[in-house]
Amino acid sequence: MLKTIKPKTARSARALKKREPKIQENQKTAIFLRGHKTNNIINTALSDLCALKKPDAITFSKKNEILPFEDDTSLEFFSQKNDASLFVIGNHTKKRPQNLIFVRMFDGQVLDMIEVGVVNAKSIADFKTPKCAVGMKPCFIFNGDLFETSEIHKKFKNMLLDLFRGQTVKSINLSGIEHVISVTAGSQKDGGDPSTGIVYFRAYSIQMKKSGQRIPRVELEEMGPSFDFRFRRTKFAKEDVYRAATRVPKELKPKKIKNIDVNEIGDRVGRIHLGKQDLSQLQTRKMKGLKKRTINEIDAMDIDEIDKEDEGEEIFPNKKQKV
């Protein structure tokens, strides 16, 4: 745990303020680290993944004695020091050759970790094709029903989305969609052991061709990197911690508009409250017999008059009367 720093200058105070928790969070920075031993495949894999994540990526090229599944304190240190919450750690041991560990942090602590082995790898440099520009938002395509059913696949999908999503934007330039990251889940053996299935990670650049319509025809060209992953160890967050991490601030929740709904067809439906109708003021057909009179007035009237009314002489009221 680092000592809490008290800013001495206004500049450092501003820098510290930037690191404080925010309602609308900034992009997550990722750190790409090497373990105590790596090989060429892992090194290029790290630098290629870093190239996809740039500009919110920090690479450390020296070796680090880090074993995240055994001890995560050094990760906490790295996270706090660099204000980063994503890690990709590569190492290569006899027991777990060509190992990549994806780590996510919340509140300066490890939230979840997924370890994968790299079965096959091709670097970006192996593909002599046009690459996307730095900092472009990628498209994601996740293929396979395992990403909906298997817990580890779900988490891995979430982790990759979190890692490469880039800036949160309200709108996007349609001509700026340049590449797509495709992750495909290969089938597992009957037992459903996730380490038996392979996950294919591919990155393609998008070419939009004319289609004679407004929407273009999409053609892909592989730009790299390309990996075949196999799941190894995992460590997921406890439910209460995960719930705390996924809480949405009150300010960002969409405000509920009363009495306006959208029905299944997509129409906006409003409900109007009119209050209780005052029926005592209701205007009914006007007749002399229904007129309000005091008892004295009735007494004063002729019997003939009452008879006339009963015969219904004034059923149709005078049009000049107020209605």
Binding site: C139, N143, S171, S175, S211
Partner: protein, 295 residues
């Protein structure tokens, strides 16, 4: 010539933008993501042409995703056509916890109760004497309390031998000090408030930070440390501003007194040490014998 035939020739010039899938894709357009849950061809995944297969498969998905993106409402700007993205639907965890509301200072609490609103004040105010605009506070500010006056008139109520310049300076100093102490108090109270709200990080331990709590704790510890000497701290060097100990007195029994009482008190001590709740002397002795045997 028939229009439909024309349309056909037009469309046959280009490849199609439609894709047929048994299960339609789910989209999270805020993230530009498409989730395809259709079953993949296992044979092709295991074959050598897997890269080709994956590329074709992804192209179909990407085409559907692009179709959806191009259907979104757009706005035309200088840089190009911008599609308005909907909110992200996939739940992604945050990096840091939701910020807690800053604890109010004593003034803010008071102002809230009284309904006092903050007003924006101009930085410069007009000085009638000088005939120019001066800052409200700070360097050459209007609230300098007449620090540059070369003369202060002594009114009838003032002590004629008092240095009024020094008095002013002292007054300002004291006001600043008071403000600082209030600020400090606000900070301490805020810290206590925040420590009460436990964080998810167990390494940050909640500690009482409030001045009064700490003060009470310290006084308690000083009192305990006093008991360490036989004179209960009577001859210790007193600390600065140390409160006088209350209710702590030590009585000494006279050297020669009632033998029966002394015996009783000693036995009670023995009872307490050995325990067992024995009633007679014989019982205690038995207990002692037992403990000896046990050893």
């Amino acid at each position: 010539m028939d229009v439909s035939a024309q349309l056909e020739t037009q469309s046959s010039k280009y490849k199609p933008i439609t894709v047929e899938k048994p299960i339609s894709l789910e989209f999270d357009l805020g993230l530009l993501a498409g989730y395809d849950t259709n079953t993949l061809d296992d044979q092709k995944l295991k074959s050598k042409n897997i890269d080709e297969y994956l590329k074709e498969y992804t192209r179909d998905g990407a085409q559907l995703l692009i179709n959806e993106l191009f259907k979104l409402p757009v706005s035309v700007e200088d840089a190009g056509v911008f599609a308005q993205l909907p909110d992200v639907t996939t739940v992604l965890p945050r990096e840091k916890p939701i910020p807690k509301a800053k604890p109010l200072t004593r003034w803010e609490k008071f102002a809230k109760v009284k309904g006092i609103q903050k007003r924006k004040k101009d930085k410069l105010i007009y000085d009638d004497e000088k005939g120019e605009w001066v800052p409200r506070w700070g360097y050459k500010g209007s609230n300098d309390d007449g620090a540059n006056d070369w003369l202060i008139p002594v009114s009838n109520n003032d002590d004629p031998y008092e240095d009024l310049f020094a008095k002013r300076r002292e007054g300002k100093k004291q006001r600043i000090e008071k403000n600082n102490s209030r600020h400090q108090r606000n900070l301490e109270e805020a810290a206590t408030q925040q420590n009460k709200n436990t964080t998810t990080n167990p390494r940050i331990v909640a500690t009482p930070n409030q001045r009064s709590v700490r003060k009470a704790e310290l006084n308690k510890q000083v009192a305990i440390s006093k008991l360490a000497t036989a004179s209960i701290g009577k001859f210790d060097k007193p600390l600065e501003g140390e409160p006088k100990m209350k209710g702590v007195k030590r009585k000494f029994e006279p050297t020669i007194a009632d033998f029966k009482k002394e015996k009783e008190s000693n036995l009670s001590i023995l009872k307490r040490v050995v325990g067992q709740g024995s009633k007679s002397d014989g019982g205690i002795l038995n207990a002692i014998a037992n403990t000896k045997n046990n050893k």
